[in-house]
């Protein structure tokens, strides 16, 4: 059984099939790439998996303690609870909250049902709060953001914001992490650094990672398998080498060799 099984997934917007009849599967601890030309439906695909959009057709199933659980029609917060977390193509941080607060929001489920203790300000409130803070700092450290933990998110540079989004997603303790163009707006040096980080967190947190990226150096370097979308349809899949050679992929995505 796969960790995540997507069968015949379709999403129509009016007459437009943004995702059409796509079937994929994800295994544990895999690093999978999702590429395709602009408007191919990659982000839409993420949106379907994470519950932002409801699929028009097809099924999404996740392996949980109760066997395969269907994710169609489950709300995003519940899906997150089941172990799927993501970042956004257009950065969506909680801009007026501090860096560490951004992370702590993502950890809020951990604190359990302590609204009561919080409102009465019992000692337990301060304890869990301190614990959460410590944990959040640890995560920030991995991405070299601990130094600016108390800075407002809006004041971060673009690259820092992208990294913070990853930390925030990690803080929800996901099984699968979806990254939408994590390296966009970064220069090659910064991209190389990020590439290493992604590989590292996969190891450290035993994650399955799916990433959308147009920077081929990153994709080819770390993805074990790659899916290619065009006009909402899956047109190729395989290892980096296989995909790179595929004539359809070259035509639609990479462009002819100059």
């Amino acid at each position: 059984m796969s960790l995540l099984e997507v069968k015949n997934l379709t999403k129509n917007f009016g007459g437009l099939a943004a995702v059409s009849n796509v079937s994929i599967h994800l295994e544990e601890n895999e690093l999978v790439g999702l590429i395709g030309p602009n408007g191919a439906g990659k982000t839409t695909f993420f949106n379907l998996l994470t519950g932002v959009y409801v699929p028009t057709e097809g099924t999404i199933e996740l392996l949980t303690d109760n066997g395969m659980t269907k994710l169609n029609n489950v709300k995003p917060d519940k899906i997150n609870e089941l172990g799927l977390a993501r970042t956004f193509q257009n950065i969506r941080l909680f801009k007026d909250q501090t860096v560490i607060e951004n992370v702590m929001v993502a950890m809020h489920r951990e604190q359990g049902n302590s609204v009561f203790s919080s409102i009465l300000r019992l000692a337990a409130h301060y304890r869990t709060n301190a614990e959460m803070r410590a944990k959040a700092l640890e995560l920030l450290k991995i991405f070299n953001l601990d130094g600016i933990a108390d800075e407002k998110a809006r004041n971060l540079s673009y690259g820092q914001q992208r990294r913070l989004e990853i930390v925030r997603a990690l803080a929800t303790q996901p099984k699968i992490l979806f990254l939408d163009e994590p390296a966009a707006g970064m220069n090659p040096a910064e991209t190389a650094e990020l590439t290493d980080l992604i590989a590292q967190i996969r190891e450290q947190f035993d994650l399955t990672i799916v990433l959308i990226e147009h920077d081929m150096s990153l994709v080819m370097q770390i993805c074990q398998r790659i899916y290619v979308l065009e006009y909402g349809r899956l047109i190729a899949q395989g290892t980096a080498e296989e995909v790179k050679q595929n004539p359809d992929v070259i035509r639609a995505y990479l462009g002819g060799v100059d």
């Binding site: 982000t43 949106n47 932002v52 956004f88 257009n90 969506r92």
Partner: protein, 292 residues
């Protein structure tokens, strides 16, 4: 049945009034996303201006309507420059509070100088009731209805088909990007205010003539109802504002007809809520989709 038809006529006449005010509301909202709480008060100032033209200077009503439109256009632009422009970059709620301040200001300045009493607007348009299939319709009703429809069509044409209209929509979405297109944002906003306020001025005189009653607080209730009408129709949508106005006018009339006159205001708000629940951006409102 005939009585019911008569009530429909009543509803449409009342709806015309709401629609007329709602048009200006929705214009301004459509361009700068500001609930211009002072709109109802500009309408009131227009009514008073017309009143003085007609009763003191003996100006013809139609001319008075035009002049009130011009006067309110200027007033609207001045208000925008003085009170709203400095707040363009701040939160919407801050701008809303300013609008409320302007509304209080206009209303209380009028009370201070002219007193809080109601005044009778000299009735200058003949009533001339006539019957169609046994339903009594009078000239004033026809006049108000026709004016509203014409204004709606003209406005819609401006927004949809002129360059200025396109610029207004661009400014509404992203004023910085609009500047990069070579659009003079200040001018567009001034134009919007001028147009919206001119409409309010015309409406003020028209309503003065229609009901022959004006007062410093006359803007509050219709202002609120017109706002509801604009929301029901979908704020920013010009046909929406008109339909919203008519819907509310008809609803009030029908509820009264069915014997629920004491609940007519509640019915209007209930309608508003129901429509928003079914269509969160109003009947004609564009659901601004957010790409995730």
């Amino acid at each position: 049945m005939q009585l019911f038809m008569q009530q429909l006529v009543n509803g449409i006449s009342l709806g015309s009034i709401y629609a007329l005010i709602a048009l200006g509301y929705t214009m301004v909202y459509g361009t700068i996303r500001l609930i211009n709480f002072a709109h109802g008060d500009i309408y009131m100032v227009g009514a008073f201006f017309g009143y003085f033209l007609v009763s003191v200077l003996n100006v013809n009503v139609f001319l008075a309507m035009l002049l009130a439109g011009v006067f309110c256009a200027i007033l609207g632009v001045v208000i925008e420059k003085v009170a709203y422009k400095p707040l363009r970059k701040s939160t919407r709620v801050a701008a809303l509070i300013t609008a409320i301040g302007v509304s209080y200001f206009l209303q209380n300045v009028m009370i201070y100088f002219l007193g809080p009493e109601v005044r009778a607007f000299p009735s200058t348009i003949p009533v001339m009731p006539f019957r169609v299939f046994g339903i009594v319709i009078n000239m004033k009703q026809v006049f108000v209805f026709v004016t509203t429809v014409i204004l709606m069509i003209v406005l819609n044409a401006i927004v949809k088909h002129t360059k200025m209209g396109k610029a207004m929509r661009a400014v509404a979405v992203d004023s910085e990007a609009a500047e990069l297109m070579g659009i003079d944002v200040n001018r567009v906003i001034s134009f919007t205010f001028a147009l919206g306020s001119a409409l309010a001025g015309v409406a003020g005189v028209l309503v003065g003539v229609y009901y022959n009653s004006i007062s410093a607080t006359m803007g509050t209730t219709p202002g609120l109802k017109a706002f509801v009408a604009a929301v029901v129709g979908g704020v920013g949508s010009i046909p929406g504002a008109m339909i919203g106005g008519y819907l509310i006018g008809l609803l009030e009339t029908i509820v009264t007809f069915m014997g629920g006159s004491m609940y007519k205001d509640a019915a209007v708000y209930a309608l508003l809520i129901v429509i928003l629940l079914i269509k969160p951006s109003g009947l004609f409102g564009k659901n601004v989709k957010e790409k995730v």
